[in-house]
Symmetry: C2
Subunit: 202 residues, 2 copies
């Protein structure tokens, strides 16, 4: 059996990666979502254990100390991290797993899973990104400027990923990510045993 | 503008690569087909300039001498080759181009186009391949044995490709190859200029 693929999706704040990832999981339920842990407060509508595990700082810090996180980072004063346990087992069982994490986290994951499918979701432009962040109406002016500058910095990290997808339209981005996953499952490097089996003379 | 991709599809005789490639081009006419040249006689239904350029040996040998072929090979006593001219220009103009060639030819192309999308089409098994070749009813017993042995040898070359697609069903293989092309267009290595542009602060 083919091993599962670890799909890592990052993108600047406001690019719509949450929406795209949710639509991907809804459309392709065979992909499992790795729920991240965070110490930031839930946004309206976010659910414990679905969007994030919302943890207190001391609990999060104990998980760091106990080595229970694949990666973790502090962003805008809050911790974000990926619980490591189940991921390895699920991949070995052939399950594809989606991680939606920031660029710092993705670069940590890349060290442990160099064959992961690293996808950077791009906004059509930073001007469009600014429009989207303002449209969300959750951020003050200073925070918006800070986020845009941070986004420019993050986009520079896109070249460390394997793929970029410009998020013009959610459904199209979902299908593109699915195509990337389909292609990755066909990579020769993931199919040595299959090639061997098929090449046996009858 | 994104440069076009060179898609190279190979597979053992009888795997159905001709059928799959024809269906791919019919469904996605934005992909151009690079018509190969050959000295073998046309099979029933094959058309000059569509399936192949059917050439006499002296003409083919002059093309070899004049360096007009990207690759060429002699297989079962006949020449097969890929006219080089238009390919480079079309790729630069953003056109995706499909080459359907044998493993020898593909390995020559790989030297000139290391970033080509090399796809090896596999039969579900060699027993299934034998059944398909017999079903076609065009080959005598000795030829079938020779082809099966050659197929086993070719499948061993599959590991030099980037992707393998098991041709269980033509439409599914077409969609898988389209997914591979979609994914390849998203590779970071093909999108450096785009990342640069999108990362500009407004």
């Amino acid at each position: 059996m083919n091993k599962g693929c670890l799909i890592v999706v990052s993108g600047p704040s406001g690019t719509g990666k949450g929406t795209v990832c949710a639509a991907l999981l809804a459309r392709y339920p065979q992909i499992a979502y790795s729920v991240s842990a965070t110490t930031r407060p839930p946004r309206p509508g976010e659910k414990e254990g679905v969007n994030y595990y919302f943890l207190d700082k001391p609990v999060f810090e104990k998980m760091i100390a106990d080595g229970e996180l694949l990666e973790w980072a502090e962003v805008f004063g809050n911790y974000y991290g990926t619980p490591f346990r189940k991921i390895q087992d699920r991949l070995a069982a052939g399950q594809d797993i989606l991680l939606e994490i920031d660029t710092q986290g993705a670069m940590s994951v890349k060290k442990r899973f160099p064959n992961g499918i690293f996808i950077f979701l791009l906004p059509p432009s930073l001007a469009e990104l600014e429009r989207r962040i303002r449209g969300r109406g959750q951020d003050d002016e200073e925070s918006i400027r800070r986020r845009l500058a941070a986004s420019a910095g993050e986009i520079a990290v896109a070249k460390e990923y394997r793929y970029v997808v410009v998020n013009e339209e959610v459904d199209r981005s979902v299908e593109t990510i699915w195509s990337i996953l389909t292609a990755e499952h066909c990579r020769v490097s993931r199919n040595a045993a299959l090639i061997e089996t098929i090449g046996q003379l009858p």
